[in-house]
């Protein structure tokens, strides 16, 4: 398999990480060697195997839906790079 610069650009868009030409070429090289290594899985026939989604063989516990933390607005915005009172501030989205 081969991951080209076009694919890298597509993945970079999906993952919201800006990638210029130079970085893209390095990434393509790295990803190709990693995927060559991953291709080994194709040696195995897995048509009748159930996928493992969780190693914990217990059913999730139910709990009542109640509010545990109150009045933590200040704590929530405390670490934001930019806020205005109780709101997160971001670059303008709607003109």
């Amino acid at each position: 398999m081969s991951i080209d610069l076009k694919t890298i650009k597509h993945i970079s868009k999906l993952s919201r990480i800006s990638v210029d030409e130079k970085k893209g070429e390095k990434l393509a090289g790295d990803l190709n060697s990693i995927f060559d290594f991953i291709e080994k899985l194709n040696e195995l026939k897995t048509d009748n195997v159930e996928p493992l989604t969780s190693v914990a063989e217990t059913t999730l516990k139910l709990r009542s839906d109640e509010v545990k933390s109150k009045n933590i607005r200040e704590q929530i915005v405390k670490n934001s790079p930019q806020d205005n009172e109780d709101y997160f501030v971001v670059p303008k989205v709607i003109e």
Partner: protein, 485 residues
């Protein structure tokens, strides 16, 4: 007492209980040594002033019934600590001060321990040498310019260098056991669901587990006893009957059946590792256990599986770092541009690489070929262990395929770096407990570890086997204090 930092946790606790040492004495000693150890670069953030205050407070009204009475300790910087900066080794969290505490660290402070500081680690725990940290490389106390392993590299370095009597790390593919092996210390990755993941910066949620690192098996058992609790705040925390691991520690392993998996004899493995493994087999036999040859046929598929599952989960978990709610923000022309620049400037190369792999394997048209395939192979890997455990009580393997390597030696080739975790990754994929204990030295004098893998929730059993082997091995770490200023 200048030898305070040489004492094990068990000795320190005893000395506090019989009033030979105060928490202030102990805390001061570890702070002094930590301050002289800047060259190791083990700490990202120190908490020394606050630690000394807490130690003094403890001494005024000591509660000696606690399990870690007045014991100072530093922890991996992946655990959220209330009001103390938590970076996960990343630029993107460089200014993040949590407003809450992780359950694992909360459990530790509730037993009387005191936070010394936050320890260096690979960025978001993605790495096997601590070289992906935004805060720089960590030195291995064993030798200059040697990696301490990773991702819990700062934890392993601080522990082996006696800057902290015990510590905790996290292990997604070997991040506790591999650095323990590289530094001549003991590290336990508990069963998935044993320790709460609440408040731990997430990497790959179906694999991540916190665990203890210590100078010996008894200290490790005591810390495991403290950190392993059922926690409703983590939906994958499991409510099972936990042992009093340190009290129930027992070196009688007569009649235990120990599996030796032939697939762990990999191509190109140094003879020293094979010899160490044979020595380990001899030790368990001398302890009265029986060894049985077993097969884990899908072992060689574990790493490729891991490098689909872990990045897939990481790409999803790390979507939260968008420059809006917390952490670093880069300037952008519009919202999308801001996101893209923030993530491009805020994440390091390895993290970006893994997010890209994860995004790709989950993307439209590739999900079945990669992610679903990996989940199916993961099932086969788990089945291998289930089959083996019909015949044996535990499994003995080397911890790593080599001893610690030099800083910079493997940074150019991601795949050769990934191969470090060949013996540890299958354990995470199957959700099992595994412990690495120091078992010998290679020709360069660097430590080598052996790994004991247990059945799910059978931590007591592997701790007991490790305890029995430890007595036989009688390992002495060769630390020369070369870095002390």
């Amino acid at each position: 007492m200048s030898d305070i930092t040489k004492q094990s946790l068990t000795e320190l606790v005893e000395n506090i209980k019989n009033k030979k040492l105060s928490s202030t004495d102990i805390t001061k000693s570890f702070i002094e040594r930590s301050e002289k150890s800047k060259e190791l670069n083990a700490y990202i953030t120190d908490n020394f002033t606050s630690a000394l205050d807490k130690a003094k407070k403890f001494d005024q009204k000591p509660n000696l019934d606690l399990k870690l009475p007045g014991i100072p300790m530093a922890v991996k910087d992946l655990f959220c600590t209330k009001d103390v900066k938590t970076t996960a080794g990343s630029k993107i969290l460089n200014n993040f001060v949590p407003t809450y505490e992780s359950t694992v660290t909360e459990n530790i402070w509730n037993e009387g321990a005191i936070l010394l500081g936050k320890l260096n680690c690979d960025e978001f725990a993605m790495g096997s040498s601590n070289e992906t940290s935004f805060f720089g490389n960590v030195q291995n106390p064993i030798d200059k310019n040697l990696v301490p392993g990773g991702s819990s590299g700062g934890s392993a370095s601080a522990l082996a260098g006696q800057l902290t009597p015990i510590t905790i790390g996290t292990d997604t593919g070997g991040s506790i056991r591999q650095p323990a092996s590289f530094t001549g210390t003991v590290g336990l990755k508990p069963t998935y669901g044993s320790c709460s993941r609440y408040g731990i910066v997430a990497f790959a949620s179906s694999l991540d587990q916190a665990g203890p690192m210590a100078q010996n098996v008894k200290d490790c058992a005591l810390l495991q006893e403290v950190i392993s609790t059922y926690d409703p705040k983590d939906s994958t925390s499991i409510d099972f009957k936990r042992n009093q691991y340190s009290k129930e520690l027992n070196n009688n392993i007569k009649g235990k059946k120990i599996g030796i998996p032939k697939e762990y004899r990999v191509d190109g493995m140094p003879k020293e590792i094979e010899d160490l493994w044979q020595k380990g087999i001899q030790y368990v036999k001398e302890c009265g256990a029986k060894t049985i040859d077993i097969s884990l046929p899908h072992t060689s598929y574990a790493l490729p599986t891991y490098y689909i599952v872990a990045p897939a989960e990481a790409s999803s978990n790390l979507a939260r770092y968008d420059g809006v709610k917390y952490g670093f923000r880069a300037k952008g022309e519009n919202l999308i541009d801001m996101y893209e620049k923030t993530r491009s400037e805020g994440f390091g190369a390895e993290v970006q690489r893994r997010i890209m792999i994860g995004t790709y394997v989950l993307s439209s048209g590739y999900y079945d070929a990669y992610y679903l395939k990996a989940q199916k192979v993961r099932k086969l890997i788990k089945n291998d262990f289930d089959e083996a455990y019909k015949k044996v009580d535990a499994i003995l393997t080397p911890s790593t395929p080599s001893s610690a390597f030099k800083i910079g030696e493997k940074t150019d080739d991601p795949v050769s770096m990934y191969l470090n975790d060949i013996f540890t990754v299958p354990v995470n994929l199957a959700g099992l407990p595994g412990i690495s204990i120091p078992a010998g030295h290679d020709s360069k004098g660097y430590p080598l570890g052996l790994q004991i893998i247990g059945k799910a929730f059978d931590e007591q059993n592997i701790l007991n086997i490790a305890f029995a082997m430890e007595e036989k091995i009688n390992f002495k770490n060769k630390i020369t204090d070369w870095w002390i200023e």
